[in-house]
């Protein structure tokens, strides 16, 4: 067996991020999706662009909270936030806000590679030992860590159902830079097409 540099750095274990995200979004039905900036947005775009996707390209820390506002405005729909460990770390306080708000229709997926992938693969807090699932649970947001395709499939089904409160799933993935799949960067376009698919007026 060949030991690679990645093995030594602990970068090789975990799920394939593209496969995991594509599996979560398979047969997505009427899910409304908000993505954090960087690789999670590319993963969601690679799984298939959709009018009900809103991709952030900045405003780091916003994704889960944008999901909260959307979930509160549309309690009849299930909202899925797909973001990364670095993005969620910048919005840790938001988990407290989401816990207190108690939306029954908000799920947060944290694609956790333990690194800041966009900026040179520096280790993030999760790569250095912080457990976002435990932080989430301590705030009062139900959380689980997903490590296998079986875990992903069980959650894929659960995402279609309302729950007692907000949920967070940490998906442990390999730290690797996969080819970029770039979503549109025009935020007004993304906003307008998202609202249009909900039947809302465009200014």
């Amino acid at each position: 067996m060949v030991t690679t540099v990645n093995d030594l750095l602990g970068l090789s274990s975990g799920l394939d991020r593209r496969e995991a995200v594509a599996a979560l979004l398979h047969d997505r039905g009427d899910l409304l999706v908000v993505t954090g900036l960087g690789s999670p947005g590319y993963d969601v775009h690679a799984a298939g662009d959709h009018d009900a996707n809103y991709y952030l390209w900045g405003a780091m820390g916003a994704a889960a909270l944008m999901g909260l506002g959307l979930a509160q405005a549309r309690p009849d729909r299930n909202v899925l936030v797909i973001t990364g460990d670095g993005e969620q770390l910048m919005g840790l306080g938001g988990l407290a806000t989401i816990a207190i708000a108690k939306p029954k229709n908000l799920s947060i997926i944290v694609i956790d590679n333990g690194h800041f992938g966009e900026t040179g693969m520096q280790r993030s807090h999760t790569g250095l030992g912080l457990d976002i699932a435990k932080v989430s649970q301590a705030c009062g947001v139900e959380a689980r860590v997903l490590r296998s395709p079986g875990d992903i499939e069980a959650v894929r089904i659960a995402l279609r159902r309302k729950s007692k409160g907000p949920r967070l799933y940490v998906v442990k993935v390999k730290a690797e830079n996969v080819p970029r799949s770039l979503p549109p960067r025009d935020a007004v376009h993304l906003k307008n097409r998202f609202r249009a698919q909900l039947g809302l007026p465009i200014t």
Binding site: L32, V34, Y54, L56, G58, A59, M60, G61, A62, A63, L65, M66, G67, L68, G69, L70, A71, Q72, A73, R74, P75, D76, R77, G91, G93, G94, A96, T97, I100, A101, K102, P103, K104, N105, A187, V188, L190, K191, F194, R195, L198, L200, T203
Partner: protein, 197 residues
């Protein structure tokens, strides 16, 4: 249909006429401003509110959180409210954000979400550090509030009197929710009155 929680409640009711909202002018009783502003916002179909508390906003916060047709969120830091308001608008709901001037400093990068996406944004900011201020730590951000908002692309309106404030909230609500603008109404510390220590 409702999001239930201690403070998170969403109702389907459209804007209903609320006491105070129909008033076109305020008398010398400037203490009435929270009721008048609440009424103006509810009549503009604002059904969603987020806040970091400030003493100057306490009555307005009480009015919103007691309203079963309004979803209210208490925040850990002000920038959360920028993202929440954007999400609410994506889903078709008008949101207002209440904070103190010190909180504006926490919001700067997050405001790029509102400005680049042209998300409607209405912030009501109570000023500190500018009039009979006892706490010197409030002064730097009080001085920087308006320039910082202007620099990131948020329009500011500054209310010196209760009547100013009521007029400006009505104007700002139209510009935000009808014209996709980002507007902060700054409520002067002189109008709010001297804080008791």
């Amino acid at each position: 249909m409702t999001v239930k929680g201690k403070m998170a409640r969403g109702g389907g009711a459209r804007a209903r006429k609320v006491e105070g909202g129909a008033r076109k002018s305020l008398g010398s009783e400037s203490q009435d401003w929270p009721q008048a502003v609440y009424g103006a916002l509810r009549n503009a179909d604002v059904r969603h509110m987020s806040f970091v508390p400030d003493a100057g906003h306490s009555k307005l916060i009480e009015l919103f959180t007691a309203d079963p047709d309004v979803t209210s969120n208490v925040l850990t830091t002000e920038e959360e409210g920028i993202a929440i308001a954007a999400g609410a608008w994506l889903g078709g709901m008008r949101s207002v954000l209440l904070m103190q001037s010190s909180g504006v400093g926490n919001c700067i990068n997050m405001l790029s979400l509102a400005t680049i996406s042209r998300f409607p944004l209405l912030m009501l900011v109570t000023m500190r550090g500018e009039w009979a201020e006892f706490n010197p730590w409030q002064v730097p951000m009080g001085r920087a509030t308006e320039p910082a908002l202007t620099a990131i692309g948020v329009r500011t309106l500054r209310a010196e009197t209760a009547q100013d404030l009521l007029d400006m909230v009505g104007s700002a609500a139209t510009m935000a929710y009808e014209a996709d603008q980002q507007v902060a109404v700054l409520i002067s510390q002189r109008m709010l009155g001297r804080k008791k220590w």
